[in-house]
Amino acid sequence: MTFQFNSLQEMWAMAGHGPYVWTAVLVSVAVLCWLLAKPIMQHRQALKSIARNLQRDGGQLDKEQPKKKNQSTPVSEDNK
């Protein structure tokens, strides 16, 4: 395994094929990075907006849970 080029310049030029190879590399790296960055941003935004909603609802987290449970028991049962 040896370095195939005499210098970095030569590697950049790739004997005339440089533009093609490096375009492919750059675009690939960009797309792959985007694929990782996008979910990370989404993740962050989701956490932020959930936290914001919690604040807006002012402690709903504690109040809401038992209230829901009450309501989910059958309310109207008028068979028979």
Binding site: M1, M11, H17, V21, V25, A46, I50, A51, Q55
Partner: protein, 260 residues
């Protein structure tokens, strides 16, 4: 029931929370593995692999093109299987995985097409040739776009999930047929082009970095899929207690007012 216990792991796996917490532990390792493989493969392929006798340095694009094509196709099957699991066992998590797999697969298919076109210019003298593999890739891209478009066409998330799962399954049945047909069609028309070096006949010095790059993309795929799915889980499970706690821990300043 005897079967009840052996299916336990399966249902636990279906829990978004379990998935979120478990993959959270894997993530750092997966990041390290992906980056290491990717850097090794790229440097090896771009700088140390010998150049191709006929194609010269342009052949180095293979280190991006082939792994991307691999994962693009495998990704479709992953998406379809996730969709099928969702349909059969009504597992919410697998729909989330399916939904996450679609953009990743579409992006990788685009990448395969793009690198193929860039590679085609120095090799064939033109960016686009109706080569069997490239045509199949193009159809695969359309299949991905169909699933993505259908997913977002519905107001109801559930309807979108089910519809795109069915479409993905139909596509899975069709993919082998499409590939075979396109292959056959290509041999029928036989345009005079230079055949690309196919992997098995490659020199080991060229093949080893390719193997590393394929592994790198597999690892990358797993990483991206997990990241997308985790983001999706947070959005969908935003009403559950554990996600709320998570949000409060992440942004204590914003939810500080709650306790007052």
């Amino acid at each position: 029931m005897a079967s009840g216990r052996s299916w336990n792991w399966f249902h636990r796996m279906g829990s978004p929370r379990w998935f979120y917490e478990t993959t959270g532990r894997w993530l750092p390792w997966l990041w390290v593995l992906t980056l290491a493989l990717m850097i090794t493969g790229l440097v090896w392929g771009l700088a140390f692999a010998p150049q191709d006798a006929k194609q010269g340095n342009s052949f180095r694009i293979i280190y991006l093109h082939v792994p991307a094509s691999f994962l693009a196709l495998a990704g479709y099957y992953i998406m379809a299987i996730a969709g099928a699991v969702g349909l059969i066992w009504k597992m919410k998590l697998s729909y989330m995985v399916m939904k996450s797999a679609a953009p990743i697969g579409a992006a990788l298919t685009f990448l395969a097409l793009f690198t193929g076109a860039v590679w085609g210019k120095p090799t064939w003298g033109t960016y686009w040739v109706w080569d069997a593999r490239i045509t199949s890739m193009l159809i695969l891209l359309f299949l991905y776009l169909g699933v993505l478009a259908l997913q977002y066409a519905f107001h109801s998330r559930e309807a979108g999930n089910k519809a795109s799962a069915i479409l993905a399954l139909v596509g899975t049945v069709n993919i082998p047929i499409i590939y075979k047909s396109v292959d056959w069609w290509y041999t029928l028309h036989q345009p005079a082009t230079i055949k690309l070096t196919s992997a098995p006949s490659m020199h080991p010095d060229m093949f080893q970095p390719l193997l590393v790059m394929i592994l790198a993309l597999y690892s990358f795929y797993a990483l991206a899929l997990i990241l997308f799915t985790r983001a999706e889980i947070l959005q969908r499970e935003s009403k559950t207690g554990w996600v709320r706690e998570l949000a409060q821990q992440a942004h204590p300043a914003q939810s500080a007012g709650v306790t007052k």
